[in-house]
Amino acid sequence: MSGQFHRPHAWAWFLERPGYVRFMVRELTSFFVAGYLIVLLVTLGRLGGGEAAFAEWLSALSGPGWMLAHVVALIAAVWHSITWFAAVPQAMPVYLGEKKLPAPLAAVVMGYGPWLTVTAGIVWWVLR
C-alpha cells in the first residue's frame, strides 16, 4: 500500500490562477514604490544641496529615461492605491446597525475620497 498521494507544488504556482497573477502584480508594486521612494530621497538630498544642485537634478529627471521610469512608478503607485482601497472594506467593515456599509461606498469614503483630496491638494499647492 503506498498510502496517500501528495501532489507536488509547482514553483511557478502564481501562474496557476488568474487571481494569483493579480495578487503577484499587486505585491510587485511594492518593488516599484520602494524604488521610487529612493529616487525621492535623492531628490530631497539635492534639494538640501542648494538651488543649483536641485535644478541640475530636475533637468536630469526631465530626460526620457527618468520620465519612463516615473510613468512606471506612477502606474505601480496608482495600482497599489486601487488594490489597497478595494481591500479596505473587507479588512475594516463599517456597520450601520445591522447593515454593512456597501463595499463600493466604503471604498469611496475611506479610500478614493481622501486619496483624491490629498492628491488634488498637493498638486494644487505646487501648481498654484
Binding site: 503506498s2 496517500q4 498521494f5 487571481g19 473587507q90 467593515p93 446597525g97
Partner: protein, 250 residues
C-alpha cells in the same frame, strides 16, 4: 429529449492499494442540462464503474461534502451544471492542497486539527445556566459575526489558497474565519485564548491576502476579510501590552 447527447468527464483516479501515481480516466456520460457534475459522477458509479470514489450527500450545497476541482477551479460539484461546460470535456480532480486518500476523496485530518485549534465554541467565565433565559444579542451584534458563521467546511478555500498549500503552520481560511466568528460574537469572552493560538508563528500571519478564498467561497463567508480583521485585532492587542499594565485584560 436530449438522451442521445453525451459529454466526456476526465476523472482523476488514484488507488492507494495499487497506484503510485494518479491517472485520468475518461467517461462518456449522458448529457442532461439539468444535471450537475455530481449527477454525472453518480451516474458513472451506478452504471459504469462502481469503483469510482467520491463523497456526497445533500446535493443542495450545504453539507459541504462534494468539493472538487472542476476544470481547475474548486467547486461544489452539486452546484455546477454540465450545461456550463458542454460540449467541452470536464476535468474532475480532488481538491488541491490536500493529501488524496483515493480518487476524488481527500484527507481532512489537517483541517479538523486546525478547526479544533481555534476553539470554535463559546468561552465564558460564568457558569452555564439556562434558567436565566437566552443571552440577549441585538440584530446589530448578530450582524458582526453572522457572515463568518456561514462556513460549511467545504474546503474550497483551502484549495484556492496558495499559502495553505505551502505553509503547514498556517491555519487556513475556514478555521481562521471561524475563530474570528467567535471572537466577534457578543456572547463570547474567549478572544484572548483564541488569539494565543491564532497569533503564533505563521498561524494567521502566513496569510498574504491573496483573496482567492473569498472568491471561491460558495457561501460568501469572506474568509480573507475575516483574517485581515483578526490580524488587526492582533495588532491592537500587541500595542495594548505597552499601554496597559501586564495582565490587565483590557
Amino acid at each position: 429529449m436530449s438522451t442521445e447527447l453525451t459529454m466526456t468527464l476526465e476523472v482523476f483516479r488514484y488507488h492507494p492499494e495499487t497506484d503510485h501515481e494518479p491517472r485520468f480516466q475518461a467517461y462518456e456520460v449522458p448529457y442532461d442540462e439539468d444535471w450537475v457534475v455530481l449527477d454525472a459522477l453518480n451516474w458513472i458509479k451506478d452504471h459504469v464503474d462502481g469503483s469510482l470514489t467520491h463523497r456526497w450527500s445533500c446535493r443542495m450545497g450545504v453539507c459541504g461534502s462534494c468539493g472538487m476541482m472542476v476544470n481547475g477551479d474548486p467547486k461544489l460539484t452539486c452546484a455546477v451544471f454540465l450545461k456550463d461546460y458542454y460540449p467541452r470535456p470536464i476535468k474532475v480532480e480532488p481538491l488541491v492542497n490536500f493529501p488524496v486518500e483515493r480518487d476524488l476523496v481527500v484527507s481532512l485530518d489537517g483541517f479538523m486539527d486546525k478547526l479544533e485549534a481555534v476553539k470554535p465554541y463559546i468561552i465564558r467565565d460564568d457558569v452555564n445556566d439556562t434558567s436565566g433565559g437566552e443571552y440577549l444579542q441585538s440584530p446589530a451584534e448578530l450582524a458582526q459575526y453572522k457572515q463568518y458563521s456561514m462556513c460549511i467546511n467545504c474546503m474550497l478555500c483551502y484549495a484556492a489558497c496558495p499559502v495553505a498549500g505551502h505553509e503547514d503552520e498556517f491555519l487556513g481560511p475556514a478555521a481562521l474565519a471561524l475563530g474570528h466568528r467567535y471572537n466577534k460574537d457578543s456572547r463570547d469572552q474567549g478572544q484572548a485564548e483564541r488569539l494565543d493560538v491564532m497569533l503564533v508563528g505563521e498561524a494567521i500571519w502566513g496569510c498574504t491576502f491573496v483573496g482567492e478564498c473569498t472568491v471561491v467561497c460558495p457561501k460568501h463567508v469572506d474568509p480573507a476579510g475575516a483574517i485581515q480583521q483578526a490580524k488587526a485585532v492582533g495588532a491592537q492587542e500587541f500595542f495594548k501590552r505597552f499601554v496597559a499594565p501586564k495582565g490587565a485584560g483590557v
